[in-house]
Amino acid sequence: MNSAKHFNLTARVLHWSMALAILAMLFVGIGMVASISLRPSLVSLHRPLGMAILLLVIVRLINRLRHRPPALPADLPAVQVLAAKASHWVLYTLMFAMPLIGWSMLSAGGYPVTMIKGFNLPPIAPHDATVYAVLRGAHSWLALLLFATVLMHLAAALYHAWVRQDEVFPSMARGEPTASAAAVAAPTAEFGESPQTTPEPRE
């Protein structure tokens, strides 16, 4: 197997910019529905940011399908491998679903889907009370699921970086190391040798 040990530059740029955008989006979203005074300004930020995330995740998925991600450490316990794979599926699904649900929810509520003043997206769902109510509920609950998954992802990333000190965190934080950098980044002796015989593709 000759796969890369690090995510490619496109993947890393998309990962970190989307991490920032999604975390901001979750806070904007909860602030928007819970604020008596900031709703108008946060709504006008929430909608275009949601569409930006949708466009970015399309690019990200294409990149992901074209570039095999680095393998997970071979010594990672099966339960953690499962958690890593499941959480990535949830994250990818919600990155697509949340903007699309938001867009169709606004359509079903009869709202204009305003990106910037004067430019609206077309409706993608019928104006209907039931469709709206179901999508509105889904948007809230899935936002909480997304937030919980992001927190788990953050915890797992820091666990890899600070506790296991394996290659997982650097594979998203940095490009392929040069020979001298690889020596520095290599696992310290206390972890022992990590046998890389049967690398598991990430996710």
């Binding site: 008596i36 709202y111 204009p112 109510a133 506790v163």
Partner: protein, 369 residues
């Protein structure tokens, strides 16, 4: 979450500070989220809590109905610009000939069974759809200025007017305490007491009350307020006449009038001068401000709200087209936020099948309380 049992045993003595740091970071992010959500601040005024106060003030929840201004009818027609508005705002509405709308005429109060002759406040809401795909939603009231100058006071007013459990009526002591705490309310109370009641929605003036900003094609921005002034001549009701009319007289009158022909209101835009308050809707602007009649609202037909197109529209006054913006009036922002919660709740009622009366599918027992 990482499984601690699987951590290499040689690393245990070093792992716990890192695990603690991770737990603290995750907890901090989660706490920030919960704080912004209002979950950790039970006394902070959120749109949900404001809507709860309105529901309590209504005495009960009327499923599927608007939590405020629950009683009304759907109307439809068009706005016809006269060209004068184009100098003030680039909104397509002012340039185009006719812009169709789905509207609603209503009375104040949270009960869909309230009596028209007891409702001091009447309202007109419009959703105008111009041919450039832009929408303009307006929610206007018959009072000429708002009762209070802050969102907190608006909330306190709602709480003070809630019926006391023992009597089913508002507590006069609470209302008096509210009035004393908010002296600006005296002007509104005086309007409510002394302004004549008109005989119809058709001869009622509806005021935007909050300040908006118009931007024209040249990029000039002005603070404005607007009113819909009826072409139907004003006729006042005496107290005796009002006591004698039917509790549904407004919708009966409307249907009768529309049978004779369309009803018209002139849209009159008032332009602010420097120094006129844009943030306090309880402050009127001086009478001598320049006014421009920009077009006419024409209502052609009405339908019951249970089955009409207005039922599933949130008349959020901050859904605005290019050329129109909201001002920094905090009550405007609060209206947008609370209307949204009210809309979510009533659409949820309808979706869950608990809103028979509101959707025209009432059982005999549900039709009247």
């Amino acid at each position: 979450m990482p499984d601690l049992e699987t951590t290499p045993s040689s690393n245990h003595h070093r792992a716990w500070p890192a695990l603690l740091a991770i737990a603290l970071i995750v907890a901090a992010v989660a706490l920030a989220f919960a704080w912004i959500a209002g979950w950790l601040a039970p006394n902070r005024l959120t749109p949900q809590r404001f809507t709860n106060a309105i529901e309590i003030g209504n005495g009960q929840i009327y499923r599927g109905y608007r939590r405020a201004h629950a009683k009304g009818v759907c109307v439809a027609g068009y706005f016809e610009g006269n060209g004068q508005g184009a100098a003030l705002s680039s909104a397509r509405l002012f340039a185009a000939g006719r812009t169709p709308f789905v509207g609603r005429l209503s009375v104040g109060g949270g009960s869909p069974y309230g009596l028209d002759n007891k409702a001091r406040v009447r309202s007109m809401a419009l959703e105008l759809n111009s041919d450039d795909g832009q929408q303009w939603r307006m929610a206007m009231n018959s009072f000429p200025f708002f009762g209070v100058s802050s969102v907190q006071a608006f909330y306190e007013q709602t709480v003070a007017n809630a019926p006391a459990p023992a009597t089913g009526k508002p507590d006069p002591a609470k209302q008096a305490a509210f009035a004393q705490a908010h002296p600006e309310f005296a002007r509104f109370a005086n309007w409510a007491k002394t302004a004549p009641w008109s005989t119809s929605w058709a001869n009622t003036t509806f005021n935007g009350v909050n300040t908006f900003r118009f931007t024209n094609r040249a990029g000039e921005t002005r603070n404005v307020r607007w009113s819909m002034q009826p072409q139907t001549p004003f006729v006042a009701m005496t107290a005796e006449q009002r006591a004698a009319v039917d509790g549904n007289f407004l919708s009966e009158d409307l249907v009768g009038r529309l049978g004779q022909g369309p009803l018209r209101w002139d849209m009159v835009v008032t332009l602010a001068q420097p120094g006129d308050s844009t943030v306090d809707p309880s402050q009127s602007w001086p009478e001598d401000r320049r006014r421009v009649t920009v077009g006419t609202v024409v209502i052609e037909r009405s339908t019951p709200q249970t089955t009409g197109a207005c039922r599933d529209i949130n008349y959020d006054p901050l859904v605005l087209p290019a050329g129109v913006q909201g001002s920094d009036d905090p009550i405007l922002a609060a209206r947008s936020a609370v209307y949204s919660v009210s809309f979510n709740r009533r659409e949820h009622d309808i979706a869950s099948g608990s809103a028979g009366a509101a959707t025209g599918k009432a059982t005999a027992a549900e039709a009247k309380p």
